[in-house]
């Protein structure tokens, strides 16, 4: 029988209860069988990006949902603030002319 590797000299002889470290949170995006874009499906915890992809595979593609997975560590996502809702979104409410509904799209353009 071998002893624990010398690279870990501080390995204790007696088992002690380890401190619980939380893994970082990852947001998961999946591109479905017929979808063109990745969609946010939820989040999970994982120690690193590789494991986050594996965990996403196990948690979010069990029922054949996806053909591609993206994961992003949640802390890297910059988000707008809910309290800025007024200035950010209300000005566009009264600008119907911004909707592209006033002209016909030629058929040969196809799906947009």
């Amino acid at each position: 029988m071998s002893s624990p590797n010398a690279a870990y000299p501080d390995t204790p002889d007696q088992a002690t209860k380890p401190k619980r470290h939380e893994w970082p949170l990852w947001e998961v995006f999946i591109r479905g069988q017929h979808g063109m874009s990745h969609r946010h499906v939820g989040s999970l915890h994982a120690p690193d990006a590789d494991m986050a992809v594996k965990n996403a595979r196990d948690v979010y593609t069990r029922r054949n949902e996806g053909v591609s997975i993206w994961v992003v560590e949640a802390r890297h996502i910059a988000a707008s603030s809910p309290s800025d809702k007024g200035p950010l979104y209300e000005p566009s409410e009264s600008k119907v002319y911004r909707h592209p509904t006033f002209f016909d799209i030629p058929e040969e353009v196809g799906a947009m």
């Binding site: 071998s2 002893s3 590797n5 870990y8 380890p18 999970l44 915890h45 994982a46 594996k54 948690v59």
Partner: protein, 253 residues
């Protein structure tokens, strides 16, 4: 021993490995250290149980006595099981479970790759389906062994203890006998010993990445895949796994 008797034994070995290990892994359901691992382990267990249905289904067919996969799984007693001792070892802590999984997965994937070219079409078909699942199992268990082995002092200590504990059970996966000789002669399955070098190389690489020391011993427990002497753990496991069919024979969903 006739060809069909050996073929039946071989198929029971394949199906009992996946059945017993699948049941063991399923024992984690609802108990794993984190939600993500809980689901991943349940997926692995379900893959293994699915493979069991195919292996034991074919075993019943080859035997020709009208026994279904369910009959073989739920109505045989410990001495008729042909799984390797490694598969029936208790879960221990999460690290011990993942170490057992890796040692098995690494051998399993090498075997299935060979079986995909079996002279028996049914065996080749099952192997071709299973090898895709198992390629993922080994990727996951390997990464976890490396992550925990080369992790904190605590996780390293536990993984080394798991490797020391389970190492003597690994050798049984690579011993040849009359059954394997007949299977190899028929071109149905390779001699287990022929997979050893590739397994050793892969395990060596994984353990060195995981900073774990492989025990300096070739000693290997035997008696699982021949059914000669299972460890005490199998009987206890079967009382859990089989109780419903034993208590209510023929019960269905």
């Amino acid at each position: 021993m006739t060809r069909d008797m050996a073929f039946f034994e071989f198929l029971c070995r394949m199906g009992d490995n996946t059945l017993v290990l699948g049941h063991r892994v399923s024992e984690w359901c609802g108990h794993a250290p984190v939600l993500e691992e809980d689901i991943a382990l349940a997926n692995t267990a379900l893959d293994l149980i699915g493979q069991t249905q195919m292996w034991l289904g074919l075993a019943g067919e080859v035997e020709g006595e009208g026994r279904s996969a369910d009959d073989l799984a739920m109505l045989r007693d410990a001495w008729d099981f042909r799984n390797v001792l490694l598969a029936e070892q208790p879960n221990g802590d999460f690290g011990q479970t993942m170490m057992r999984q890796y040692l098995f997965d690494q051998a399993h994937v090498l075997l299935l790759q060979k079986l995909a070219g079996s002279s028996d079409e049914r065996v080749a078909g099952i192997a071709a389906k299973a090898v895709k699942e198992v390629a993922y199992h080994v990727e996951r268990s390997r990464d976890t062994v490396i992550g925990l082995g080369d992790g904190t002092s605590e996780s390293h200590r536990r993984m080394q203890a798991a490797l020391d504990l389970l190492w003597p059970y690994a050798g049984e996966m690579f011993t040849d006998d009359e059954v394997s000789g007949i299977m190899a002669g028929e071109g149905i399955a390779p001699e287990p010993s022929s997979l050893r070098a590739a397994w050793d190389a892969a395990v060596q690489e994984t353990m060195s990445e995981a900073t774990l020391v492989i025990p300096d011993s070739d000693f290997a427990h035997a008696g699982g895949k021949t059914g000669f002497r299972h460890s005490e753990h199998l009987g206890h496991m079967l009382t859990q796994m089989q109780w419903l069919q034993r208590a209510y024979p023929g019960a269905r969903w």
